[in-house]
Symmetry: C2
Amino acid sequence: MTDTSEITALADTYVAAAWDKDVERFLSIYDNQIFSYDTWESWSIAGIRNWEAMVREWFGSLQKERVRVTIEPERVEMSDGLAFVAAAISYAAIAPDDRELRSMTTRMTWVARKTDAGWRVIHEHGSAPIGFADLKADLRGPQS
Amino acid sequence: MTDTSEITALADTYVAAAWDKDVERFLSIYDNQIFSYDTWESWSIAGIRNWEAMVREWFGSLQKERVRVTIEPERVEMSDGLAFVAAAISYAAIAPDDRELRSMTTRMTWVARKTDAGWRVIHEHGSAPIGFADLKADLRGPQS
């Protein structure tokens, strides 16, 4: 199965919804049972309501800025029922006058499941590599 | 499909091979096309030969210590051709007198593909969550 367009369409929705700060559209690509290892702060986020809270906090923090997301897939693979994407995902903060204020790039893995309503992301893993020399990540595990 | 024993068997092999510092056995669970977002240092590691170099460096750094790995799956899902595991993975350094010298726990995602030879890991994503307050991860992306 080589038609990966249905999976990359999820990325297009993510990008458009982030630009518009549209929480409902953003959440539409995720399964209700989403289980995320997010880049920031917490060990994991489970379930669409907790995921929604993270998204609302993110969009709510942006004020006049917008976020221009760019997703560059490095690997995509599909089977009948599951698919995965490994991608570089960049977030650029754009001022009202179109200046880019700052940006960063992280690594993202998606696992998607085919449902009656189409493909939905059931697992997201975001991260940046950690240097041994300046180790500051939280290595205490899920109890922390 | 709910029999996830073939996938968790990959974890058992990972644990046993790490304890024995057995490079070949460790590599046996990975596909030749493995694409890894590793927890440490580099953006990505692609292909079994580069992955082997990382494993040899890891095992070679251990001297008299052994590594007791514990993998606790938080999500497992399978289809006919692909499977994924999201797990807490702990690494404890064990001295020759059985003392635990140190340990850490990171987050791991595996995506596995069913091949003629059995299930093989085609994607691994390891990380620890990053605190905003002490951000030290590398956010420059794949060019760095």
